[in-house]
């Protein structure tokens, strides 16, 4: 390396890169963190908050949208999860955080259309300011956060995918979310509390 200035500059630069990578990883919730409540507008026009659900033992908070093919592949499974687990105390709340200028198909009106077409039995709310998704730290759709009520707190117990086969529900060998819920309802810790999946990027406001 002839240019020592350049050399030191590259060290400083790589240091900065490492720092920014660390900063990125540390944003958002990890399993074990307490989740903040929110107040977001549902497609039916009402405001939805975790505190609205007095009897809930927890929640399946799913960062979702209208336009992602993975979400579309999972919509029926999201409905099934709600129908199976809401009565057991774990309702689904679907949140769309995509910017409607960057992704016009994810506007509030389009959300209303999608919710009606699919007859969503769960709230589908719009996080227009993207504050909720930034607080949670979701990076893709669909991205599931299982919250479990502990006293007055909502503790994050699982972050990840719904299961391990988006294409064919009958070919799923790891129903991550259902397994996690079964463990929570048994009073156990979630054994596999974090999974990854390919998903659509969040369309951030520019």
């Amino acid at each position: 390396m002839k240019n020592s200035k350049g050399f030191y500059f590259s060290i400083v630069l790589s240091g900065l890169f490492a720092l920014s990578a660390m900063a990125q990883e540390s944003t958002g919730y990890k399993v074990g963190d307490k989740a903040a409540d929110f107040s977001l507008k549902d497609v039916r026009g009402e405001m939805v908050s975790l505190s609205n659900y007095e009897d809930a033992k927890g929640f399946l908070v799913i960062f979702s949208c209208n336009t992602c093919p993975y979400v579309v592949a999972y919509e029926d499974r999201m409905i099934e999860l709600h129908e199976k687990y809401a009565e057991k105390g774990y309702p689904v709340i679907a949140i769309n955080s995509n910017d409607d200028k960057v992704s016009p198909g994810d506007s509030f009106e389009k959300m209303q259309e999608r919710a009606k077409a699919k007859n969503f039995p769960f709230p589908y709310v719009y996080d227009k300011s993207q504050e909720v998704i930034k607080t949670y730290g979701a990076t893709r759709t669909p991205h599931v956060y299982i919250l479990n009520k502990s006293g007055e707190d909502y503790v994050v117990e699982y972050i990840g995918a719904i299961d391990n086969n988006y294409q064919v529900p009958s070919a799923v060998t790891e129903p991550y979310v259902e397994k996690a819920l079964a463990e929570l309802m048994d009073g156990k810790k979630v054994s596999r509390n974090s999974t990854k999946a390919i998903g659509c990027t969040i369309k951030w406001t520019r």
Partner: protein
């Protein structure tokens, strides 16, 4: 009858060679084998899909940068539905994609995402750079031409 057999043979041959040249369909183990194959170039593996708008937006930048620098070797790794490869072959044709496209048909995502890079959340676009010495560098999210050039320069500085 003879001509029918010939026709079938020609069709088979054409389809087969088409798939071979234009689009290979692999599982992650096969792709990982390629990651580990030595190369004296900087290999760029860009994860994308035909339905992913930011991916499609950045593809021309990758193709341009790759075409202008003989030290680079670009591959597009499609995350499209492996049951419908015609969506990808149609896209390659329509957009005149020059670089090799590989369809990664492996939906058990959690099994392999960390093997590409532990920092990858799974969102696409995402790009893996493999240097001639086998070391890796990873970027999640869209890149424009200047960001890509900056990244490559940074990697080349590391090599020298």
């Amino acid at each position: 009858m003879k001509s029918n057999v010939l026709l079938i043979f020609v069709c088979f041959f054409v389809t087969n060679s088409y798939t071979k040249d234009e689009l290979r369909i692999v599982d992650f183990d096969e792709l990982e084998g390629e990651f580990k194959t030595p190369s004296d170039k900087i290999r760029i593996y860009n994860f994308w899909a035909t339905w992913c708008a930011p991916c499609i937006k950045e593809m021309p930048h990758f193709e341009k940068v790759n075409a202008e620098d003989p030290e680079l070797d670009l591959y597009f790794i499609s995350m499209d539905d492996g049951r419908k490869p015609e969506r990808v072959t149609g896209f390659i044709e329509k957009r005149s994609i020059k670089s090799p496209v590989i369809l990664l048909d492996d939906v058990d995502f959690d099994r392999w995402i960390d093997k590409v890079d532990p920092s990858w959340s799974g969102a696409i676009p995402a790009t893996l750079f493999i240097l001639p010495d086998g070391s890796k560098s990873f970027h999640e999210g869209e890149m424009d031409e200047s960001e890509l050039l900056e990244k490559i320069n940074q990697l080349k500085t590391k090599l020298r």
